[in-house]
Structures are given as structure tokens and as C-alpha cells.
């Protein structure tokens, strides 16, 4: 990893859990939202924002102690942080490294921006469903009405309500 020395001063290593590195600067909170972590779960969470990165210039890092995130969960991170890397830590050692990959289908997480899409009908027991059209640039398409979502729209949805 070759993390700059001063980072160690900000957050110490975790014993067991997940480290999400190389998050585009400023998106750490959005990543937490996508994972459904509010801080009220009692988990120890460390957020590092706007630190130097050789790859990205500046980046954010999220460390969640006591929770090994599944691949399904971490792949959703790709929606707002396609550059993110995942390290699963056990007993202070990285036991698994993952890259995030936008899932082929995203169900229930995003809202379709088209107000006359069937997924927006009030009281209807239907989950919005998007399929991936392209990974870079990120484009998703609503399977019901064909409306497309780009990275900006997706980030805005997670930064907005919830």
C-alpha cells in the first residue's frame, strides 16, 4: 500500500474489519450512506478525508472495525467511488484485497428520476431496478422506463436525502 507516514498518526491500524481506501476526496460520507452505516450501529468507524494520494491527488479513507463487508455491499461503493479498494483485515493483517465493480443490476437502492415511471407510483410494491449500461463513464438504465442515470445523478441521490 505504501501509505504516507503521517496517515498512521491520524488513524491507527484496525484489528478486524474493513478498510475502504482510494475513495475520491469528499465522498467518504456518501460511501457510508451507501453502506447504510449511520454511526448508530455501535461500530467503531474512522473517517479520513482529503489526504494526499499518489493515484488520486487527494482521497478519503473509511475504516470500519468489527465488520467484514460482503462483496455485494462493497460493489455498491463503485456507484460513487469507482476507484475505491477494499481491504478485509483479520487480526491486524490484510486477508483479502478487492477492487470494486459496479454490479450488473442495482435493485432498490436508487430512485428513477422519471416521475411517471411505474417505480414512482405511490403505494405500489415495486422496487426500482437499474442495469449497467457502461462502467466508465458510469451509466445505469431503468429497466422499466429506460431513463438513464450517470455518476453525477447517482452521487446526488446519495448526498441528498436518506
Amino acid at each position: 500500500m505504501g501509505a504516507p507516514a503521517d496517515q498512521g498518526l491520524i488513524v491507527r491500524r484496525i484489528r478486524d474489519g474493513t478498510v475502504i481506501d482510494h475513495i475520491p476526496a469528499g465522498r467518504a460520507l456518501t460511501v457510508l450512506r451507501i453502506l447504510g452505516l449511520s454511526g448508530r450501529e455501535g461500530l467503531r468507524i474512522a473517517l479520513v478525508m482529503n489526504v494526499e494520494s499518489r493515484k488520486l491527488g487527494r482521497k478519503d479513507i473509511v475504516k470500519v472495525e468489527g465488520l467484514s463487508l460482503t462483496r455485494e455491499a462493497t460493489d455498491l461503493i463503485a456507484l460513487v467511488a469507482p476507484t475505491a479498494t477494499i481491504n478485509i483485515v483479520k487480526d491486524y493483517r490484510v486477508v483479502e484485497k478487492r477492487r470494486v465493480k459496479v454490479p450488473d443490476e442495482v435493485v432498490g437502492l436508487l430512485q428513477c428520476p422519471n416521475p411517471t415511471c411505474i417505480t414512482r407510483k405511490r403505494g405500489e410494491p415495486i422496487k426500482p431496478r437499474f442495469v449497467k449500461v457502461s462502467e466508465s463513464p458510469l451509466v445505469l438504465r431503468c429497466v422499466y422506463c429506460g431513463t438513464k442515470l450517470g455518476e453525477e445523478d447517482i452521487v446526488r441521490q446519495f448526498e441528498g436525502a436518506h
Partner: protein, 306 residues
């Protein structure tokens, strides 16, 4: 035997060129086949959450000519939907009673959603601005009857290409064939949707967007006209700005068009198509309307597996 047995009809793009050509041939024979009442033990549900006259009646007539029964409703008023029942529950009920369900609804994606819920085949009779596949089948069938083929012709599609589902479905349907060229003719505010143009590009259909019919009329073999529908506009002010923005007159057609030009329109029309064209050989829209019944008969025969 129906090769489309059990299939949902959500978008015209769910079908191949060969499947459509086989359907057209069956439509040619539909009235002959009807004599044996091949669907006499079948029930077709007509779920028109959005009002319709032509489409609903033509499905009803098609089913009855084949010996079948229809159930359903022609608007939300007076149904359990008006009492707050979900769309999903209404579809489940119809699925329990009928062998196939025809759905029209103002929300885009409603037919696909219905197909996910129902075990029986679902036929999309219009979902919001999105698709109207059986109309596209009729339109392509009309061209096939008039010219003997859909390939090799130059098409002009005129009108509200942004919101009108019939125009959208017709253009998508053309991509299953090999048209010489497709002109998308509309005022700038009503240009074809990006998704539709992407399909044209992906299937290498030669097309061009133009604003004035006059500029391309002389090249056309087929002119497809749609009306502007007020209810599709999210903003009434936007509708006011574009209403009456195009009109096909007899004088224009007689002065510029090829003598063999055929004009199609899914009807009903408002003021975009001059009634004085009706008695000219250009008018193909009444034939098109008549072909709705045999085409839908063929489709019902195919889907219900008779």
C-alpha cells in the same frame, strides 16, 4: 401453431424481423382461421387504466371474431383501482381470470411490471410515453401490404417524437428492417429521444433529424404522422408552445410528394392532417386502422397458442 406462444409483448424490439414477417402472413389468413373459432374457450382481459377507444375496441373485436370472450374495464373509474387497490393486485386478479392480459397505463414500465407479476402473457397496449408495440406491428404490416416489403423505403416520421409512444415504437420497429433512410421530422422541442436515436445508431439505420417536412417530402415513400397529445406534457405551457406547430396539407403533398407516397397516422387526428387528403391515393390511414383487427387476431392466435 403459434411460435410466439406464451410470449409477453412489451416492446416491438422484443421481436425479430422474421417473427414479424410470420405474423404478417398469419394476419393475411386471420379471417379464414377465425371461422373455426379457435379461441372459443379463451378469455382475454382488457385492462385499460387509461382511456382508449380504437385500441380497446380492436382487441375486443379481434378476440370475439376468434370465438373468445373478453373481460375488463376501460377506465379506472368505478373499479377497485379507484378505491386504492394497487396495480399489482389488479393484475393478479385478472391473471386469475384470463388467459392473457392487455394493459394500457399512463406510467412508463407498467406493462413490464405487469408481466413480472402475471403468469399469463401480457400485451402492452401503451405504457405512458414509452411503447405501443401492437400499433407498431399494425403500422409495419400496413407498409408491408402497400409496398410488399418494409425494407428499402425512405420514411419520414413527423410530429411529437419526444412523447408520442406510437411514433417511438414505429421508429424502433423500423430498426428491425433495412429502411433506405429515416427522416425524423419535428419541431426542435419535440425531437426524438436520445434512447431511440441510440437504437437507430446501434442498428446502423441511416437517419437524419429535420425540422421542416417541406425539405424532405419529395424523397419520402412513407410519411408517418402523429398528433401532439396534451396529456403527455409535464408542463402545460410547453404544450401551448408547440400545439399546431406542424400540419400536413393537401396542397403541400400534391405539390411536392412522389405520386406513390403513402401517409400513415395511428389516429385519432386533431389538426395535423388535412381531411382533404382523405380522398387522395396518398391516404393510407383508414386502411391502417382496418388492418388493426386482423393483425391483433394473428397476435392473439400466436400468443394463446392456437
Amino acid at each position: 401453431m403459434g411460435s410466439l406462444r406464451g410470449r409477453d409483448v412489451i416492446s416491438i424490439l422484443d421481436f425479430s424481423r422474421d417473427e414479424l414477417l410470420a405474423l404478417f402472413e398469419r394476419a393475411d389468413r386471420a379471417f379464414n382461421e377465425a371461422r373455426a373459432k379457435p379461441l372459443r374457450d379463451k378469455v382475454l382481459a382488457l385492462a385499460f387504466f387509461e382511456p382508449s377507444t380504437r385500441t380497446r375496441l380492436s382487441f375486443e373485436v379481434a378476440m370475439k371474431r376468434l370465438g373468445g370472450e373478453t373481460i375488463g374495464f376501460s377506465s379506472e373509474e368505478g373499479t377497485s383501482v379507484a378505491k386504492g387497490e394497487t396495480f399489482a393486485d389488479t393484475i393478479r386478479m385478472l391473471d386469475a381470470y384470463a388467459d392473457a392480459i392487455v394493459v394500457r397505463h399512463k406510467y412508463e414500465g407498467s406493462a413490464l411490471y405487469a408481466a413480472e407479476i402475471a403468469e399469463h402473457p401480457v400485451i402492452n397496449a401503451g405504457d405512458g410515453r414509452q411503447h405501443h408495440p401492437t400499433q407498431a406491428m399494425i403500422d409495419l404490416y400496413t407498409v408491408y401490404k402497400l409496398f410488399g416489403a418494409v425494407d428499402g423505403l425512405t420514411y419520414g416520421v413527423l410530429g411529437d417524437l419526444r412523447y408520442a409512444r406510437a411514433a417511438n415504437s414505429f421508429v424502433l420497429g423500423l430498426t428491425l428492417f433495412r429502411p433506405e433512410k429515416v427522416y425524423l421530422i419535428s419541431p426542435p422541442q419535440l425531437r426524438a429521444r436520445e434512447e431511440t436515436k441510440e437504437v437507430l445508431r446501434a442498428r446502423s439505420v441511416r437517419f437524419e433529424e429535420v425540422e421542416r417536412l417541406e425539405d424532405v417530402l419529395e424523397e419520402l415513400d412513407v410519411l408517418y404522422v402523429v398528433r401532439i397529445q396534451r396529456e403527455r406534457f409535464p408542463d402545460p405551457a410547453e404544450y401551448e408552445r408547440v400545439r399546431g406547430s406542424y400540419r400536413v396539407t393537401r396542397r403541400l403533398v400534391e405539390s411536392k410528394a412522389k405520386p406513390s407516397l403513402k401517409i400513415l397516422h395511428p389516429l385519432p387526428r386533431v389538426d395535423e392532417l388535412d381531411p382533404r387528403l382523405d380522398e387522395t391515393p396518398y391516404a393510407a390511414y383508414f386502411l391502417q386502422a382496418r388492418l388493426g383487427v386482423p393483425l391483433r387476431m394473428a397476435l392473439l392466435l400466436e400468443i394463446m397458442g392456437a
